[in-house]
Amino acid sequence: MRVSLFVTCLGDHFFADAVHDAIHVLEGLGVQVDVPAGQTCCGQPAYNAGYMTEAVRVARHTVRVLSDAGPVVTPSGSCAAMIRTVFPRLLASDSAAGAATDLAARTWELSEYIVRHLGRERVGQGLRGRRIAYHHGCHALRELGLLHEPLTLLEGAGATVVDWPADRECCGFGGTFSVKLPPVSAGMADRKLDTLPDADLLTSADPGCLLQLDGRARHRRMGLTVRHLASVLREGMDGSA
């Protein structure tokens, strides 16, 4: 089994450890991982802000660098959704249309790949006794239809996923939304954080959401541990480091 990892721009710049943890987990499951050269960003920031010319350019680049990459796995629900649901439309009248549709059909979010494609529900038992809050990123939830996949892996590793009434509400990141409307964005993060039940840590499959929730929690000095799903799964595989 061989996959290509799409690191993503937030993965490169803010979540390098989680990216390595994703590679480690995949390798632990017997998957060979390649990190294709030339990859950058999926272009979602430009797309969501209305900059189509720029988004098309970046999307075309990503399609090209991942063209012969086999299954593509990414530790970001939002970027997986961009590639799967937006790329085919965005590049529909482009010479890369066929390649975009092809890429869309073989791109997976990490937990989705492990549960749906590999058919594995257990990476190890390293999370026994851990109480974990899981934030469902909007694009993973609504565009990829992921709900049980990350929870299955966390629970499969022995963790208890705590009951969180706001677990499927938006964290308020929204790309440029977070810097265009900071008070509204922060209020949305607060709604998440204020309803959070007692838990050892907060995790999610989406780097953007994690930046937002961690940034707000640290701003409020909440002492909350916020980690990417890939890092938590690595702990689930290896036990706590």
Binding site: V19, E27, G43, C138, G175, P183, V184
Partner: protein, 482 residues
């Protein structure tokens, strides 16, 4: 109404900073509405209902000329008068003419968003005609001299204490009056208004083209009295409110109620067919239906916007919207707020006048999931954003930033260099990129992990940063984030 949508960022900030109770009140009310909707959706094959309703409304909108003429003919057969208003001024002129024709000095109003859109209350006041809202929520905000902050619950941003205070001032109720006592005070005032008003003004949830039926949904009974007690009833109805067939009501009445309040059907449904006939003891002598365009034709002609006209005004997208819940409707500066307001306002009022609204969304998609007629609101928001960019309405610095972004993200060498720069400047990035100042105004500083992840096939062992072996640039070591 003077739209203040251009000021959304400031209005939203002020709401959050100066009246934090609004956020709590709106959130609690919206969550309750939404919980009811979810339960009610779960009781039926709601996706089949929604797909069907979407198709019916899209069909109406694509054959609107035919159905409007059919509706007019049926309404006239019932003895109603039909008027056409191109814009708000024309609608107000129709009203002026009717007020003067019937010698109206007092109007009782049923809850109507289109009447808010047209600014009828202020207009009537300027003509020395007294207009009294008879929906309890509308009555409360009329006392407070505020616009509605929600399609269904116009006063949801207010707490019980706020209402006690204004009722104490106006009606002399006890400072600690119970909700029942407050209701009783409103009721005794309104009863007198119902009996003395010369004209009842309402909106309309649906007009059935086949039968000329005006359908109105409510829970308080005030609309039923407003349409039957005064001798003149005037209904202002958006031209998009048509349904083709009588039988369509069977689903639309139920779907609207389930989406709005979680009820199987509204407590009162009035199906009106013109003035009282000779054998009918109740009902008005004169019925006027004013079909209002006010920008709708323009929206209908716009391939990227027209789907918003399917809207039933149920408020489900507001209730489920985490952005709306922060501020309630006032910050949007327009009668239609929340997700549907953010896509209707640019169409009805113009994009440059309402520019921030299409950006007042994290694109979470909850609205599209809740919408009973499957309006793809995030797609419509994106279309308005694209148009803002195409028309050069976005800030120059932002345009430059996205040009730079696409240049960097299509050149892997530049991209890696940018990664080194991010790592080298670390927590001081806010100084170099003003946009990060905005990030850090409400969040702790970003914590870059350093460089970019090493590319290439993996051969076991720890991953290395891509550039450290080539350049030794500062900050290019990948360190685990704390």
């Amino acid at each position: 109404m003077d739209p203040r949508s251009a000021h959304y960022p400031r209005l939203a900030r002020e709401t959050l900073e100066q009246t934090p109770g609004v956020r709590d009140a709106v959130t609690q009310a919206a969550l309750a509405f939404d919980a009811h909707r979810l339960r009610a959706y779960g009781e039926v094959d709601v996706d089949a209902w929604r797909r069907w309703a979407e198709q019916v409304k899209s069909h109406v909108l694509t054959h609107l000329d035919t159905y409007l003429e059919q509706a007019e003919a049926r309404l006239v057969e019932h003895g109603a008068h039909v008027h056409w208003a191109d814009d708000a001024a024309a609608a107000r002129r129709v009203l002026d003419e009717l007020v003067s024709r019937y010698g109206v000095s007092r109007v009782v109003k049923g809850k109507s968003m289109v009447s808010e859109e047209l600014g009828l209350n202020d207009h009537l006041a300027s003509q020395d005609v007294e207009a009294v809202e008879s929906d309890l929520g509308e009555y409360i905000i009329q006392l407070l001299d505020e616009p509605p902050s929600h399609i269904l619950g116009p006063a949801i941003h207010r707490t019980l204490d706020d209402i006690r205070r204004i009722f104490h001032e106006v009606h002399g109720t006890a400072p600690e009056a119970t909700p029942e006592e407050l209701c009783a005070a409103a009721r005794s005032t309104l009863r007198e208004v119902f009996l003395s008003a010369d004209m009842g003004i309402t909106g309309g949830n649906f007009v059935v083209a086949e039968t000329g039926t005006l359908a109105l949904i409510e829970n308080e009974g005030n609309i039923r009295i407003s349409t039957s007690a005064p001798r003149v009833h005037v209904a202002f109805v958006g031209i998009e409110k048509l349904l083709p067939r009588w039988s369509d009501l069977a689903v639309f009445l139920q779907l609207t109620a389930r989406a709005a309040t979680g009820q199987p059907v509204g407590t009162f449904v009035s199906l009106l067919h013109g003035p009282a006939r000779d054998d009918e003891p109740d009902g008005p002598d004169e019925v006027h239906v004013v079909f209002v365009d006010n920008g709708r034709s323009r929206v209908l002609a716009d391939p990227d916007a027209w789907e918003a006209l399917r809207c039933l005004r149920c408020g489900a997208c507001l209730n489920v919207c985490p952005v709306y819940r922060q501020t309630g409707g006032h910050a949007y500066g327009y009668v239609y707020s929340g997700p549907i307001g953010a896509v209707l306002a640019p169409g009805l009022l113009g994009l440059s006048e309402t520019l921030p609204l299409p950006f007042a969304s994290s694109l979470c998609g909850a609205c599209a999931e809740a919408c009973p007629v499957r309006i793809p609101i995030p797609e419509l928001l994106l279309a308005w954003r694209r148009r803002a960019v195409d028309e050069g309405l976005t800030p120059r610095a932002e345009r430059a930033a996205f040009r730079a972004f696409s240049a960097v993200a299509t050149r892997p060498g530049l991209y890696r260099a940018a990664g080194r720069l991010v790592a080298a400047t670390g927590g001081r990035m806010a100084r170099y990129l003003p946009v990060l100042g905005s990030w850090e105004s409400v969040r702790a500083p970003l914590d870059p992990s350093g460089g970019t992840v090493r590319r290439g096939p993996r051969h076991g062992g720890a991953a290395q940063p891509s550039d450290s072996d080539q350049t030794g640039a500062p900050g290019s070591e990948v360190e685990p984030a704390p």
